[in-house]
Subunit: 217 residues, 3 copies
Amino acid sequence: MKLSAVLFLSAVSTVLAGRTLVFPTQTSTSYVEMTPLKPLSLRAFTLCMRVATELSGEREIILFAYRTQHYDELNVWRELDGRLSFYLSGHCVLFKTPELGPMETHLCFTWDSSSGAAAVFVDGRKSLTKIYRKGHVIRSGGKVILGQDPDAYLGNFEAKQSFVGEIGDVNMWDTVLSDSTIRDMFNGKKVERGNVFDWESTQLRTNGDVVVVNREL
Amino acid sequence: MKLSAVLFLSAVSTVLAGRTLVFPTQTSTSYVEMTPLKPLSLRAFTLCMRVATELSGEREIILFAYRTQHYDELNVWRELDGRLSFYLSGHCVLFKTPELGPMETHLCFTWDSSSGAAAVFVDGRKSLTKIYRKGHVIRSGGKVILGQDPDAYLGNFEAKQSFVGEIGDVNMWDTVLSDSTIRDMFNGKKVERGNVFDWESTQLRTNGDVVVVNREL
Amino acid sequence: MKLSAVLFLSAVSTVLAGRTLVFPTQTSTSYVEMTPLKPLSLRAFTLCMRVATELSGEREIILFAYRTQHYDELNVWRELDGRLSFYLSGHCVLFKTPELGPMETHLCFTWDSSSGAAAVFVDGRKSLTKIYRKGHVIRSGGKVILGQDPDAYLGNFEAKQSFVGEIGDVNMWDTVLSDSTIRDMFNGKKVERGNVFDWESTQLRTNGDVVVVNREL
């Protein structure tokens, strides 16, 4: 009993500030579970992260997955053709953007149910707005993971869709932040902390080959 | 009678701050009419906007059209070859610039009749100055629309020239603003409001498939 | 006599601040002579300017020419292959830099005789330093012109080497300015005025098809 408790603790990262996650290799087993600060019952969101990857060419890359028992509630992807996308349990909304690559990119995805307005910000620059899933509500009760795409509830991972590279500074709000706030965040200025995920305090539970590295932003 | 009044009101946007226009698809029917704050009898202007579009390749794109009964008084284009241009009732002045694309670009066009100096600023960077239509005066008495190119007075639209994407923050002054003011505007700083068009207060009348989205800059 | 005096005056620009020079077409006759504030007997210099041109491909472009009776004392070029260079009466020093183009670029060239250190700053970013003409002294007694390369004293111009586009904010110091001063200048901040050429006060004598446009930086 005591041993398993220790193992459990060692897998929960206690470094609260300036950490970043490195997924060194392609696997179908490595992922990080993030515990949200509140249930993900959302009519709007801003989801930001910093990402760098040496993956390129025709390869899907999962960037963020929130799955309930039966639905992919919010999955964020780099698609086969390089476009960024997210899925709210159904068809996706796609964005043409500068390509992700080995130099770190700051990403923010925004969506608002009342208008359906969806956008992505790449290094502080806004894409054009798409109208998507107006009136929809994201449901609570699931799990959020980085590194894998769960085709079932925390399972059925596929290595070819896994994340390989570095990801961090993952923050989420239940509102759409202003353009200038997102630009400030990209520029490393302090902004209001995420009220769904706050990277400085969010508990991370790592599984498989994931390295947690300290880092000063 | 009452019904048509209600329809009329519903088409006039009453959101005064931080709105942006999304033209989701190519049409020959969707456009937005803007009501100016003063007659467009102009010996100089600065016309600014934020634009994002996934259109690419050999496609003309109308960015702004001011037409009187018989003349295209001031039409702003992205030309077939990607260059930006504007027409003051006649031949155009062309500018080689970085290409418009799906990430938002801030544009300002300036022209001064006394010298003929014409320039475009892309994300705060100035193009070279061209000498164009020295002594010319833009005439008042027409209509300004976004989304379509009117080959007749508010008619004869062509889908292949229509705007598809997002456009907003359209402001116009009857003077040439300084380079530093335009750079500040690109950077999201507050500058003096447009005295011909002020995006925060200008009445917009939408027609067809145009979505007005609230947005905090 | 009176007529020629009037013509002479009309050719001397009296607008002292915020002017810019437009060379609309390729000629072997259009140029602007600049009167320095002190003799160009120099053991060091910083020479800055803002330049935009739609010329591209394999084309030499003269950016600044200081010629005495028998020597090209200080000629600044965009070379055939796009590199920037300057010549102190003899072979040149070459710099690989981002290409000049139709969007305005801020350039500063620096050289110091005591070390031979030569560099160019493009939009505030420094090139690598080259060692060039250590111990050399630039001689006074010549003429400075923009727009043409004089192969003889103010003559033998070649259209294929002429400047076409816009040039302005040409300032020169008899010292090497600090990197941060040059970065501030690029960003439009006020710095100490040039003591060899001060664009705000330098007398310009235009010849041929050159348009002097007022401009607020």
